[in-house]
Structures are given as structure tokens and as C-alpha cells.
Symmetry: C2
Subunit: 270 residues, 2 copies
């Protein structure tokens, strides 16, 4: 349902107003997604329900194949660039925005019980940077990760920038929150996951690690890393690096580790 909007104050496009300011305060049960690649994932490969789109007029035509598969009752607002920028509050270069509903987060036990016999899961502890969380979801999607678990200090994967950096991976890979790192390890071990924690002080060398049928990879923030109480309860794994150089970026680290684990296990997804 294409609806042309010419007044930036049109009440129907209220959810698109002042996007950046709302990014900060949050949107309760909704999130905003931007760009063509992300929209394609959102409409075809995600579990999220699109509520509406706002497109620059020039984009409505190039997205024909995406728009055709949307439910006909979803409003597709179109506007000139000038009107769109006035609504949003800054220039949306790609001319594509969508509002979608969040899904409720399942209890961790339920999510883990849905994993196949052979599964790779990622757990994030204290990752407060949206670029890193987005990058990790991108890698998780690339290497067939079954689920991502987040502690309460890890930032929202459905934050606009995290989705963009994930190239839609944040919309594809199931995830949920757990109350603490302890609860995360407990739930993983109860579900027969072999829990590995990446740490510069890790005892095993990543390249020599042979993953189990069900493997979980825990990642902490650059700098503080993972708490030592957690390292004491898991297999600790390190990535050897050239003398004296600062540690790798955590998203890159996730890619390195997931590549090794997925390759070594010959996960069927690959």
C-alpha cells in the first residue's frame, strides 16, 4: 500500500520522526532498520513483523521485488528526499527505513533446547559497543551460529547501527538475554554445551581446539575481558599474537574463532 507523504508533520509517519533522538531513548516494542540489504533480510529471512516502510520516492521503484512480497496491508510511505530528511532529522542517504516489531525474548533454556544436536552458540559478556555487537552478529550469521546469548551489559542488537553493521545478521540469528554471566554458563552446561571462553590468558590455543558437538564460545569486552570466576569454570582458549601487540578487535576475534570452530566441526551449515 503506497502512500505518498508531502507534509513532514503528517501524523502517520510519527514513528520516523527524529530517528537519532529515539535511537537513544529506545522504541519499546519496535525497532528501526535502514538500507536495502537490511530490508531484504528483514522481509525475507527474519522473524520480525514489519509495521511500515518510509522510502525516498526514487527507491520505491528499485525495491519492487521486495515490496511485492510484503503483506498488502503494510503501509509504504514515500516522500521526496527533502521531506524524508525533514521527518528523520538527518539525511538518510540510502532512502530506506522500516519500522518493525521486536519479538519477545525466549527463556535461555527454551532457546537452547531448540538447538540441533550439532550446534555453535555465542555468549557475549559486557559488550557495550554497537559496532562490535553488530560485527559479531554478522560473523555469527556467516558461520551458522544457532543462537547468541547476551548478558545485561551487552548492548541491543536491534539498535539501528548494530543492525546495519551486522548487514542484517542481527535479524537472522536468534538471541536472548540472560540475567548474568553465571546464569549463562549454567544454562549452557545444563544443555550439554562445551563452554569455551576466549581470553589472552587462555590455556588452549585456538588453532588446536577440537570442538564438541555442542560448543559455546564466550566473548568479553576488549580491555576488561571475561571475569576470572567465569574463566575458572570453562575451557579457556587464547589466540597467540605477535610480540607485544595490542589485542585483536573483539568482532574480528569472533570471526577467527567461529571460522576455526565451524571448520573443525564441519558444521553442516557450511
Amino acid at each position: 500500500m503506497l502512500i505518498s507523504v508531502s507534509d513532514p508533520d503528517d501524523p502517520r509517519i510519527e514513528p520516523y520522526r527524529a530517528v537519532r533522538e529515539r535511537d537513544l531513548v529506545g522504541r519499546e516494542h519496535r525497532f528501526v532498520a535502514e538500507g536495502e540489504v537490511v530490508l531484504r533480510v528483514l522481509s525475507r529471512q527474519s522473524r520480525f513483523k514489519i509495521e511500515s516502510l518510509l522510502l525516498a520516492e526514487s527507491r520505491a521503484e528499485t525495491l519492487g521485488d521486495v515490496l511485492d512480497v510484503l503483506s498488502p496491508e503494510i503501509p509504504i510511505y514515500t516522500a521526496t528526499r527533502v521531506v524524508m530528511d525533514a521527518i528523520v532529522g538527518f539525511p538518510i542517504h540510502r532512502g530506506i527505513l522500516a519500522i518493525a516489531r521486536r519479538a519477545s525474548l525466549p527463556p535461555v533454556e527454551e532457546l537452547l533446547s531448540q538447538m540441533p544436536e550439532k550446534a555453535l552458540v555465542v555468549g557475549l559478556i559486557g559488550l557495550a559497543n554497537h559496532d562490535n555487537v553488530g560485527g559479531i552478529f554478522r560473523n555469527a550469521a556467516a558461520f551458522g551460529v544457532g543462537a547468541v546469548l547476551l548478558d545485561h551489559e551487552t548492548c541491543d542488537p536491534l539498535y539501528r547501527k548494530a543492525i546495519r553493521v551486522s548487514v542484517g545478521g542481527a535479524l537472522m540469528v536468534p538471541y536472548t538475554r540472560v540475567p548474568s554471566a553465571d546464569a549463562m554458563v549454567q544454562a549452557l552446561q545444563a544443555a550439554s554445551f562445551d563452554v569455551m571462553a576466549l581470553s589472552p590468558s587462555g590455556k588452549e590455543i585456538l588453532a588446536q581446539v577440537q570442538p564438541s558437538q555442542r560448543t559455546a564460545l564466550l566473548l568479553g569486552a576488549e580491555g576488561p575481558g571475561l571475569p576470572s570466576a567465569l574463566l575458572a569454570r570453562t575451557r579457556t582458549v587464547s589466540i597467540p599474537m605477535s610480540g607485544g601487540f595490542d589485542s585483536l578487535n573483539v568482532a574480528t576475534t569472533s570471526g577467527i574463532a567461529l571460522h576455526h570452530l565451524a571448520s573443525a566441526a564441519a558444521f553442516p551449515a557450511l
Copy 2:
């Protein structure tokens, strides 16, 4: 030599004026570096000569150990935050800037002739994004890469943001320019490097690749990738990914490939 500056128009701090605008036009034989981690690398682990520093007054004390090892003739300008921001043109949160001289770029043959018998080299083709080039230099430093070769479309590793993203890796790993991708492959093969090109259509699977004593890894931009004429002349290597998902970020890809190659070769640097 500590010199307090109170006038933003002081001619001595001319090189620090309007940093962002100069980032765009370039600084000829100089570059600007920012932040404590980068300054530490610049002063201790790089081949570049520092010409001067500009520090927020609050930072001069915390950097005592770095300042002590600098040649006494290097001017260290200090200013209040307000004056520093006025000079630079935007808030420098970390309060640390340095101007250093570029080193001349050696001919590729000379650089390669200095590589040890067992060496890992990276070649970048058409990488125009500073985050990606910075991230690749970070990974190159972490995995003991001996040199990075850049074609003329690849952006400047000494651009301020690239250095920052590299966490100083761009200052540590030797690099040079080559006129074309063809010339790059030719020089590498002439120096007995086994040249591998990463490509989604690559014939070998990365996890199974056994590197040679001298291995070169070529990376192209996400999207266009490496030219097919180049792929025809090299070993092509792919990273299998989960069904239908967009390719990995190129910096992450470099980390995955360098980790595998460095681990498989047990490079002495690790």
C-alpha cells in the same frame, strides 16, 4: 621541551589547525596521529620521526614515561582543552595529537628482499575504506605480517582514522605502493612468494590450506572483489559461509585468513 600555548592563533601550532579539513587535502610529507595507544607505538615501535606533540594540559602528566624517551628538541605544546579544541576545530577527547614525518616508500622489490625466509605478506587491491585498511593493519601487526603492499586505489594507512583503527599497527608494519595489481603479483612471485587470493569463488578452502614458507595473501574490496585476471594467476582460496548470507567484512576476513596461515605455518613471531 614543554611549551605552553594559550593563543589558538599561535603560529607554532600551525600544523594542528583545522585537523579534519587537512585530513582531506593531505599533509604532504607529514601525518597526524592521535591518542595514547597510538602515541606509544609511534614513539617506541615505529620508524617514523615525531616532529611535535600537542597535548591537553591534563595529559602531559599521565604521559610522563612517553615524553621522557622523546628527543629533548621535539617541541611538546600543551594547551587547555578550550584552546586545543579551538586550534584543532573539534573536540579531541583524548587530548593527544602528534605530527610525524612520513618515511619514503621503498620499491616493492627492495621491501620484499628484506623479508625473512619464512614470511607472510598482505596485498590490498582497491580498498578505499579507512576503517577496513586500519583493521587489516591491526590484524597484520597481531599476526606478524612482514609487509603490506597497496595498489593505487587503496587508501592511505597513515590517514588519522586508519591509524586509530589499526591501534598503531599502521605505524608498525612496513608497507609500500605498487603501480598495479599485476605488478604486485609479479613482484611477489619473483620473490618466491606463494600468492593466494581470497575470493568467494576460490577453489581451495581456507581451513585446508597449508601455507608455503613465503606466503602472500591478496584481499580485494567487498563487492567487486579481486579482478578475474588476477585470480587466474594465483591460488584462489575461499571461506565457506552459511547458506545465502552476505560475505564477511574484509578486515574480519583478513583476521581469519592471517590467523589460519600464521597458525598453520607456526610462524616464529607467534
